[in-house]
């Protein structure tokens, strides 16, 4: 059996309410508080003023494992990450880590705009825990990966944001600790860049290093990690195969669901032309569909406001399976959208036919774009905004017939089979 890389035992972290984030005080406030405390003597550590961001979290990670940490905002993911990265201390419990620890909670930590690319590579490398010699050895590789050879002696404040992020990521990607702790913020940037980040992480995991990966993005977790740990309100709810954990997460009330609404326009996705109101998956009876029979159609209902007249509007859906593979894209082809859009509220529903999607969790991304003669503009761009589960009731009339095991494939269309006897 492989030796453990991380062993956490009863990790707990308590925050005083208001202590977390921007809680610095002036001396006067503190003196006032101290005086009041003297008068009242309220010493209860579990009082109403405290919160357990992590509560008795225990787990063990073997060397070479790639483990995803999932959970909604405030579930304690970041706190766990910060404890494992040694940025903050636990209140109780302990964790043993074997080997060097590299943590990437952000790309380009410590980058200074006035310094050149070259100088920043060395500075950032040292901050991430690399030795000078190590950075020097990998220097050419780093700038080549980032593709900024020509600008390496230019201050990074003159870089485009893309170049900046590429260089910053490239340094991080060449970090080679035994344990790598990564926050999902790494997966920023354009799609191409994201792919490279994830590819690199994949390679790191395969090289026998231990990776702890925190993410909101379930397809990425299922694709990168064999195992996932689900946190909710500071506790471990589930620890197991990443497919099982992500499926559980998506279908408990903690994750994304089959129905999302934005009651306040100001906080809804979109811009001054188009604002999303809601997205949900519906069955043929018109109800919200969390789980769909593999043989039945499922509709993706997008409700949005067009706030002013503008060029023709194109709602679009993108379907992704649980491993993050794009199944397909579809544009709304309704003739209504051939002409300029008039202000008002609209509901567009895309019907995915039955016997098309395979079993498993399906993620839906929604885009709303406008097409004018000059260019295409994306006004709404919501990835993996809703999800639903496709289930086969095993009645023998789907593509896998009587077969009851796992069925591979992005799609599972019911084909027409003809069989003739031959002599």
């Amino acid at each position: 059996m492989a030796a453990f890389a991380i062993q956490a035992e009863g990790l707990s972290k308590q925050y005083r309410l208001g202590q977390h984030r921007h809680a610095y005080k002036t001396l006067r406030e503190e003196l006032g508080r101290a005086t009041r405390a003297l008068v009242r003597r309220n010493g209860d550590a579990n009082g109403p003023g405290t919160i357990w961001a992590l509560d008795d979290v225990s787990f063990e990670v073997e060397q070479g494992e790639v483990v995803g940490i999932v959970g909604r905002n405030g579930a304690g993911k970041t706190t766990l990450l910060k404890i494992l990265s040694r940025i903050t201390e636990p209140t109780r419990g302990y964790a043993d880590l074997r080997g060097r620890i590299g943590s990437l909670l952000e790309v380009g930590t410590g980058f200074h705009p006035e310094l050149t690319g070259r100088e920043n590579v060395f500075l950032n490398g040292a901050i991430l825990g690399m030795k000078r010699k190590e950075v020097a050895r990998k220097f050419d590789e780093i700038i080549e990966f980032a593709g900024v050879e020509k600008f390496i002696d230019t201050p990074v404040k003159r870089y485009s944001s893309g170049m900046y992020v590429r260089l910053a990521f490239s340094v991080a990607a060449h970090l080679e600790p035994e344990i790598l702790i990564v926050d999902e913020v790494l997966a920023v940037g354009d799609a191409e860049f994201q792919k490279r980040c994830l590819g690199r992480m994949d390679a790191i995991g395969k090289s026998g290093r231990t990776v702890i990966f925190v993410s909101h993005n379930m397809p990425t977790v299922t694709r990168l990690c064999q195992r996932a740990i689900l946190l909710d309100r500071g506790r471990v709810v589930l620890d197991g195969r990443s497919e099982d954990v992500t499926a559980h997460y998506l279908h408990s009330d903690t994750g994304t669901s089959a129905h999302r609404t934005w009651p306040e326009r100001a906080h809804a996705p979109g811009d001054d032309l188009i604002r999303l109101r809601s997205v949900r998956t519906v069955n043929t009876e018109g109800g919200t569909a969390h789980t769909v029979d593999i043989r039945r159609p499922v509709g993706i209902e997008i409700t949005f406001d067009v706030l002013r007249s503008g060029p023709p509007v194109r709602p679009q859906v993108m379907i992704t399976d649980e491993s993050g593979l794009h199944s397909f894209n579809a544009l709304d082809t309704d003739t209504r959208w051939q002409n300029s859009a008039e202000p008002g509220a609209y509901t567009s529903t895309a019907w995915v036919p039955g016997n098309l999607l395979n079993e498993g969790v399906v993620f839906v991304s929604v885009f709303v774009s406008t097409l004018s003669s000059q260019r295409t503009l994306q006004h709404v761009k919501e990835r993996d905004i809703v999800s639903f589960q496709v289930a086969d009731p095993l009645e023998g009339d789907s593509a896998k017939g009587e077969f009851a095991g796992r069925w591979a494939g992005v799609v599972s269309p019911l084909l027409e089979w003809t069989t003739d006897s031959v002599e």
Partner: protein, 298 residues
């Protein structure tokens, strides 16, 4: 069963190729609440020494970036102060210390360690809050930041010292051979500035009063240290109070080393060194004790 199309990206290799076995690769780190009140952990500091140097190098590099006069600022500040001091205190108010050297020389020799002390104090006090993105995103011994910030003022000190050399040439004098003892007094200046810097940098994480209080404090210290007047002008009954200010010992001592006159009384030197050491040790204890909550509070 059809399994070919299923793209599972991460199947762990059955025999993971572990990276080259360095001793560090197997080192066990235990993360737990620190119950001990204080531990210096010099080993940890040593392992991160390279980062300390890089942070110091960054400070030096950035110090005069995008300034028109650049490193000349290291000279302009003490020289201007010297000129103003000479005009007001020597010419107008008639302060004439018995060092048998021109007043400009007398004042500049005092201003050199003072400027260093002041810059160290200011920069180390701001080092934690000024680097808060680092504090909340990566681990390293936090002590590195105040430590690194006392290095770049040293560069300014050497730059400004060239003016002193120039003045000696101009007045056709030579620095006294005692000058070799200068590092001792600079060390007291560093110790005191770093100690205060540790206190203030740790305090400023929680109380943003520090940036307001600090310039006020250094202004008071300027007058309470023998910069414009010789220490011997201080009335006898206040001497002990002045000796408690480590900067007194530093300035007095620097004048003795460079000019060769005005031997500092051993009690003044002793008191300054002791106070400086006390400030440094207490600063270290306070800093190490509070640093565990830096990331939570900053």
């Amino acid at each position: 069963m059809i399994e070919a199309g299923r793209k599972r990206a991460t199947k762990p290799p059955t025999q993971p190729q572990t990276p080259p076995q360095q001793p560090e690769a197997q080192r066990l780190t235990r993360i737990k609440p620190s119950n001990r009140f204080f531990s210096l952990d010099l080993g940890e500091l040593w392992r991160y020494r390279e980062l300390g140097f890089i942070l110091a190098w960054r400070d030096i590099k950035l110090r005069y970036k995008q300034t028109f006069l650049g490193a000349a600022w290291a000279i302009i500040q003490p020289v201007t102060t010297m000129v103003v001091m000479t005009l007001i205190f020597h010419q107008f108010l008639g302060i004439n210390p018995e060092y048998h050297v021109p007043y400009v020389l007398f004042s500049y020799v005092g201003l050199l360690p003072w400027t260093y002390f002041n810059a160290c104090l200011t920069q180390s006090s701001a080092s934690i809050v000024g680097n808060s993105p680092l504090v909340t995103k990566v681990y390293f011994p936090r002590l590195l930041m105040p430590l690194a910030s006392v290095i770049s003022p040293l560069v300014d000190f050497f730059v400004a010292s060239t003016i002193l050399a120039g003045m000696f040439v101009y007045y056709r004098q030579a620095p006294h051979w005692h000058t070799i003892a200068a590092p001792v007094f600079m060390a007291i200046a560093l110790m005191t500035a770093l100690g205060l810097g540790l206190w203030f940098s740790a305090l400023s994480v929680r109380y943003r009063d520090v940036p307001y209080a600090l310039p006020f404090l250094t202004q008071l210290l300027f007058f309470m240290s023998p910069l414009v007047y010789p220490a011997s002008d201080v009335p006898q009954r206040f001497r002990w109070l002045f000796a408690l200010n480590p900067v007194t010992g530093v300035i007095d001592g620097m004048r003795w080393t460079v000019i060769g006159k005005g031997v500092p009384h051993y009690s003044v030197f002793g008191a300054s060194a002791a106070t400086g050491a006390l400030i440094l040790v207490s600063g270290l204890v306070f800093f190490r004790h509070t640093e565990r909550s830096f990331a939570d509070v900053i």
